[in-house]
Structure formats: structure tokens, C-alpha cells
């Protein structure tokens, strides 16, 4: 790890060992600033910390944070946690944020997480979130948990939120405060408890215990628990939590199940301008929020009518209804694009010559592209079925066949092989011409005459 841990010179995490060092704290100061310097391959955590009694690897050991972790939009892939305790435990990339400090986690992306936590003691509880297990203060901002699973189990009797099994896609639970903004999860979430009334699960968070605010978030994964289960929030308890501009689409199964909110108790406030997809979730009831058809849930007007910000926060793939399956997503996490740079119109390329076809791409547009040649709008030739998409500027060296028919009406189209909705064609025609020779060409035109 490099850096000094200050706001101007944060510690920089370069690999999964640095990530565990951050969690371990020492020698890095509490309240320090951290950031990811690159994407992190966390798959080695599946082989960490052998537990001889259980016969499993316990994996990553999360700890609390009182400073800031900025993921810089880098991805952590394959983080593995498998922990069991007779007491209480908070699990996630960060276990808890509870003491005064900067208390901010932002711009972290997680894929293929595999979290399991179990409580097995008289006072046991387990609370698991994709990013943070438990938060009392601070902010989780622009964190995306894209894939994987979270499972919380507890075999002891307890009260919800304190001696329970709670699992949430982003956060296990809010305690006495905290904020989640512009986050989303697409993981499967499951919580079970031997006392069926004490398991909560939510696509975003299992429980808002006393306070906690959720703004502009969504959840896409399936959620299941034996008790309070919601596509976004399992349980809102007490009067000071807020849920605003949130939607969920995942299937919901639970003893007390709701498409968006599983249950509100002790005066839990109803969500505001928030929705769930009744068709995809398989459930038509929710303790708050508005149920939508899938078509409504994929229509921007549904959300703009409710005051959602589609200028600086949200967007929607109205053209292909493909990215995020056509549901709203964040401008901060845009859908992939591919843009043809050359030939993009006006070029004159000669047969039996070699040229570079150039393009750029943004986002996760896959690893390879197909390049086609069009003549007057009709597919003329497959230039290459698969070539690597490349870094900032993709490049394919194309030798034009000597027998290629000259025309001024050619265009190329570049398409992601894995995400074929993402493609681009030359903006205008380019010319393929015969090679210039030394031979002049002349035409005879009609004459005019007079007697």
C-alpha cells in the first residue's frame, strides 16, 4: 500500500492483500483515507484462513472503517467471506461504520461476491451487506454490488436487528443513522433464522432500525427470508428512516414479504416516490411504494412523473431496452458504447491496400468486436468475426481485397460480440477506389453542330 492516509495523499490499495491490510487497520491509522488504485482480484480470499473445526476457509476478515474508502470506480472481484460466531458479527467489505469520523465509502464496485455468515450462540446475531454490514453514521455513495450471493443464518432466538439474521445487497442494517445514495445491487440475498420472526432481508438493506436514509437506489436481485422480506428493504422500524426514489425488480419470497418493503413497524415511514415491478418480483403487495407493470417500470415517464432526476442522476436504455434490462440506471455507470472513428465517412481507400479500422468504446462493451462492411446499406462483407476490442482506441488492420468493387457507398459497422446491441456504423459513406494507374481515362461526349 502506498500513500500517507491523508485526504490529499490517501493510502492506495493495489491488491487483495492491501485490502485485507486496510481491514486490519495497523499499521494504518484509524480514520485514514484509502482508495483503490486498480481493479482488485479478490478470488484468493476463497483460500484464506482455514477453519479446521468447520473444515472451511473463512476468507476475508472485514473490519470497521472510520475514514474514507474511495473505490475510484474500480472493481473488486470474487470477495469471499465465510464466518461463524457465537456472538454478534457484522460482515461485508467493511464490517461496520459506527464511530465518529469521515465515514464514507464511495465508488466501489463488487462482482461475484460470496458472503456467508452464521450465528450460533445465545447472543448471536449476524448482519451482512454487500458493502457494509452495519452503519450508524456516514455515507455509502455510488457503490454497486453487481453479482454474487449473500447468505445470513442464525440458529438462536433474538430480537430483530439485535439478535437476528439480516442480509442486504448493499447494507446489512442501519442503526442510528447513515445514508445510502445512488447505490444498486444485483445479488441474491437470503436470511434465515431458527426463530422465523427474526430474519430480515432486502435487496438494498435488511433493516432500517432507527434512522437511515436511502435516496436514488435500486435493487435487482432475488431476496428471500423467513420473515420480513422486501425487494429493497426488509423492515423499516421506527419513524426516522426515509426511502426516496427507490425501485426494485427482484423476486421476493418471505414470511412477511413485500415487493419493495417487507414490513414497516413501530411507525416506520412509508417510502416516497418509490416503486417495484409486480411482474418480475412475482408479488403484488408491499408495505409501501407503488407497484408497476414491467412496461411501466421500463418507462421513463413513470419516474419523471414522480420527480426523479433524469438529468444528472438517472438514465434509461430506451433505444434497445437492453442495458439493465431496460430499467433505469445511473448516469455514473453508463451503458457501453462503441464509436467508429475510421472510416467514418469521406475517406478514399484503395483496393489491394491496408488500412487501420479504428474505434473507441466506453464501459463494459465486452472483449471482442465483429467488423462488417456495408455497401449502400446492405451487408457486403464480414471483415472479421472477432477481434479484440482493445484499450482506449481499438484497431484492426484491414487489407482490402484487390478485386473489391470500387464504390463511394461503403460503411463499416463494429459490434460487440458478447453485447450485440452495442455497435456503431460509419456516420457517412467512404470510398473504395481502384488503385491509381498511370493510364489516363477519357470519355467522348456528344457534339454540337450547325449546317
Amino acid at each position: 500500500m502506498t500513500g500517507a492516509g491523508t485526504a490529499l495523499d490517501p493510502y492506495v490499495i493495489w491488491d487483495v492483500n492491501d485490502l485485507q491490510d486496510m481491514a486490519n487497520g495497523a499499521p494504518y491509522a484509524a480514520g485514514a483515507y484509502y482508495e483503490l488504485g486498480c481493479d482488485i482480484d479478490a478470488t484468493p480470499t476463497a483460500g484464506w484462513n482455514w477453519d479446521a473445526i468447520r473444515g472451511v476457509f473463512e476468507g476475508f476478515l472485514p473490519r470497521s472503517l472510520s475514514g474514507q474508502l474511495d473505490g475510484n470506480r474500480h472493481n473488486i472481484d470474487g470477495l469471499y467471506i465465510n464466518r461463524e460466531s457465537a456472538g454478534g458479527q457484522y460482515l461485508g467489505l467493511i464490517s461496520s461504520i459506527t464511530v465518529f469520523g469521515v465515514n464514507r465509502v464511495q465508488n466501489v464496485r463488487l462482482t461475484n461476491i460470496n458472503y456467508y455468515g452464521r450465528g450460533n450462540g445465545e447472543q448471536s446475531f449476524v448482519q451482512i451487506g454487500g458493502v457494509v454490514g452495519y452503519i450508524d453514521r456516514g455515507t455509502i455513495y455510488r457503490c454497486y454490488v453487481r453479482s454474487g450471493s449473500i447468505v445470513a443464518r442464525n440458529d438462536r432466538w433474538g430480537f430483530p436487528g439485535t439478535t437476528a439474521a439480516n442480509a442486504g445487497g448493499i447494507l446489512g442494517g442501519f442503526g442510528d443513522g447513515g445514508r445510502m445514495e445512488q447505490c444498486y445491487s444485483n445479488v441474491s440475498v437470503e436470511a434465515t433464522h431458527s426463530a422465523t420472526s427474526h430474519s430480515q432481508a432486502g435487496g438494498l438493506v435488511a433493516i432500517i432500525w432507527q434512522r437511515g436514509d436511502i435516496l436514488n437506489c435500486f435493487a435487482r436481485g432475488p431476496v428471500m427470508s423467513w420473515s420480513r422480506t422486501g425487494g429493497a428493504v426488509g423492515l423499516i422500524w421506527d419513524v426516522q428512516g426515509t426511502v426516496t426514489n427507490v425501485y426494485s425488480t427482484g423476486t421476493v419470497l418471505g414470511g412477511i414479504a413485500g415487493g419493495l418493503i417487507g414490513a414497516r413497524e413501530l411507525g416506520g415511514v412509508a417510502p416516497v416516490n418509490s416503486f417495484w415491478d409486480m411482474e418480475s418480483s412475482g408479488i403484488a403487495i408491499s408495505d409501501g411504494g407503488t407497484g408497476l407493470t414491467t412496461l411501466q417500470a421500463k418507462t421513463q415517464a413513470t419516474y419523471t412523473a414522480a420527480g426523479w432526476n433524469f438529468v444528472t442522476v438517472w438514465t434509461l436504455d430506451w433505444e434497445y431496452v437492453y442495458w439493465n434490462d431496460g430499467y433505469p440506471f445511473f448516469l455514473d455507470d453508463p451503458m457501453p458504447t462503441i464509436t467508429v472513428i475510421s472510416p467514418n465517412g469521406g475517406e478514399v481507400w484503395l483496393v489491394d491496400s491496408t488500412y487501420n479500422i479504428l474505434w473507441t468504446h466506453t464501459g463494459d462493451a465486452g472483449t471482442h468486436v465483429q467488423i462488417d462492411l456495408f455497401l449502400a446499406g446492405i451487408l457486403d462483407e464480414l471483415i472479421v468475426a472477432s477481434t479484440i476490442i482493445g484499450a482506449a482506441v481499438g484497431n484492426y488492420s484491414w487489407h482490402i481485397d484487390p478485386g473489391k468493387m470500387p464504390s463511394q457507398q461503403y460503411r463499416v459497422r463494429i459490434t460487440s460480440t458478447s453485447l450485440p446491441h452495442y455497435s456503431d456504423m460509419s456516420d457517412n459513406d467512404f470510398t473504395i477506389a481502384g488503385k491509381p494507374s498511370s493510364i489516363p481515362v477519357v470519355a467522348t461526349l456528344p457534339a454540337t453542330g450547325v449546317g
Binding site: 491509381p436 494507374s437 498511370s438 493510364i439 489516363p440 481515362v441 477519357v442 470519355a443 467522348t444 461526349l445 456528344p446 457534339a447 454540337t448 453542330g449 450547325v450 449546317g451
Partner: protein, 103 residues
């Protein structure tokens, strides 16, 4: 006697300066050549007027262009000047822009 203006069009100069002229006559053996015009340009029509033609006779002509390495002939065209015509007329509009590349 009648007169006619012959027109040609340089499609490609082969990357070199070109000279253009016409061959003409009463058969495809032609037999007459107009004076060459230097530095004819691509895309610009070059023309020459020929005189002392007989009215009612079929004439053949073709454009010719050459540069330092090769020569190109346009397609054959024909015209007949009607007897008694007093104003310039298009003699043949049947074969506009019949480009020909000579190898």
C-alpha cells in the same frame, strides 16, 4: 459548309499532365485529328470545332487523351448535320459519359 463542336471529358489523368484531342472521319477508321490541347483537366470538358463538313453525312469521332506514359481513347460517337440547319444543335445525346479506360 457545316461545322461541329466535339466534346470530351477527362475522367482520370493517371497522376500526370494530359493532352487531349479528337479523331474524326466518316468511318471508325477516322483519318483526321484535331490539334492537341495541353493540360486538360479532370472533370472539365474540352472541346474543338471542326469545319467544312457535309450536311447529311454520318461522321464518327472519339476523344483521345494521353500523358507521358500512356494513351486513352473514348468511345466512338456519331453525328449527322441536318441539311439546312442554321443554329447549333446537339448532334447525338445517346451516349453521355461512356467512360472508357484503355489499358
Amino acid at each position: 459548309m457545316a461545322q461541329a463542336t466535339l466534346n470530351g471529358h477527362l475522367v482520370d489523368d493517371g497522376g500526370q499532365p494530359c493532352t487531349g484531342w479528337f479523331e474524326w472521319g466518316t468511318s471508325t477508321r477516322y483519318g483526321n485529328e484535331t490539334p492537341p490541347q495541353g493540360n486538360i483537366a479532370i472533370g472539365i470538358t474540352f472541346s474543338t470545332t471542326i469545319y467544312n463538313l457535309a450536311e447529311g453525312v454520318l461522321y464518327h469521332y472519339r476523344a483521345v487523351a494521353r500523358n507521358s506514359t500512356d494513351i486513352s481513347y473514348g468511345n466512338d460517337q456519331v453525328f449527322t448535320i441536318p441539311v439546312g440547319s442554321t443554329i447549333p444543335i446537339m448532334l447525338d445525346d445517346a451516349a453521355l459519359y461512356q467512360f472508357l479506360e484503355v489499358s
